[in-house]
Amino acid sequence: MTTEGSSNPPAKRREPEVPQAAVALPPEGIALAALLPEALADHGVEVGAAIDEVVCTVPADRLIDVCRLLKDEPSLKFEYLRLLTVVDYVEQVGEFEVVYHLFSLANHHKMVVKTRTAERRPSVPSVTSVWRGADWYEREMHDLFGVTFEGHHNLSPLVLPDDFDGFPGRKSYPLNDYEEW
């Protein structure tokens, strides 16, 4: 986290005196962090770290290229999508962050890919063409945060009722003070 640089949303939000979690990459993580800048050279990728994971921030328009490369390149081979989620930083920087947790069984590497999208009409490309397992994650995130995943074959409501109004995952959605649907 601390090595991620000044463009990281949480860093802007925090008061200076808030303690930061210490970064301690395992040996595999250090090897991966050394490998990534070269492998993803022409994609405008920033490589950092959070506690024990390598974090790589990608511009939304290069996301699919980067994900495909991460999956297909034999030295990386991230064939397993562990988690896909959205974090709401609208109050701080007016952006949503989409976070992908990847794992490579072959190389025993783990990493986090992040991309940002603006508050108005939030949209990122769908990674269902790379990992099919992203399907329901993206539908769920579309329900809860209203982020559109371009190229997803079916973004119909998954966890919410069909006629639900609003995006309950967002920070702006109240926890208790809402009308029953």
Binding site: M1, T2, P10, R13, R14, E15, V18, P19, Q20, A21, A22, A50, I51, D52, E53, E79, Y80, L81, R82, L83, T85, V87, D88, V99, H101, L105, H108, K110, V112, W131, R132, G133, A134, D135, W136, N154, L155, S156, P157, L158, V159, L160, P161, D162, P168, G169, Y173, L175
Partner: protein, 384 residues
Amino acid sequence: MTDPVATQIEDKFTYQASSEPGTVDMMVNMGPQHPATHGVFRMELRVDGEQIQDVVPHIGYLHRGSEKLCEHELYSQIITLFDRFDYVSNFNNELVIVSAVEKLMGVEPPPRAELIRIIMCEFNRIASHLLFYGTFAIDMGAITPVLYNFRDREKIQSLFESVSGARMMHNYFRVGGVKEDVKDDFTSRALALCDELERGVDETDKLLTENEIFVERTTGIGVISGEDALDWGLSGPVLRASGVPYDVRVDEPYSRYSELDFGIPVGSAGDCWDRFYLRILEARESLSIIRQAMALLEPGDTMAQIRRIARPPAGEVYAHCENPRGDLGVYIVSDGGERPYRLKVRPPSFCNLQALKDLTVGHYIADAVVILGTLDIVLGEVDR
């Protein structure tokens, strides 16, 4: 918004109303209150005769917005919410959240607390698998095994009750340790229970595994290759049955699993029989883990010296553990406060259920029940 597949099915119905000759597919609705869906889960099956052409799963009937709720609670209060995700393996769920906060704070729980956690989690894995054998047999019309399995599961629940005070929803693990030490008679009780469970698992094995009807119903049904399973993000017994040896306890050892010697059963065919038998083998491995952990158990503290109200540093963390259903993870973004800024769970049942369509298409309706049974979903965790 309309579901395109559902619209497609409606179109089929209007077609049926016309007088043109020929066969048409039929839509069969299963759930949300069907005994074989193991909770409030609904699937629309498009069938040609009895053969399934398409499946549209509908989840969300149990969506409580738990992740949002977690973002408004103290870290110690979140543990109770995690109990309610996968409500048949509560200890495993608690372990994930406490280990995530510990990782964020850099806290090491005392060795005794770690071993107590492992013992509880492995007992819970057996309890969860016992429930699976029984309900899975019922799904196929075999009523007998569930009676034996529930008898054994109840013994585990009694042990849990003596340790945590509750049969389910224990709220026993804490950030930095466990609530209190186990009772004096715990060791003798747990070891005796291990022997009883061993007999119980053997009984189930004898009753089902090589039963001819059982084998006929499960072999070659719902096959998924290892490559597809990885692509869908499957985990746990469903992934390992397809020949992928991925187990968090071995691949990224947490707690004190690296000190213990145990095997990871791996299947080869990736069909329903493999997924069932793998769980029998896993329960035996769990018993071996419990016995080893009991041998390592030494007197000592059960709680690390930390603030009563955990206040982790700012940062983000992903921690995960091997749940009976698969790789359960939690992603926490902390802004340095007493409550997480963002909390997201990686629910293994949710990922496993996604592959349902791939598994069921081409099989008969009765097989869909069997396939859903082997995925062993818990809807509390799918919907959260």
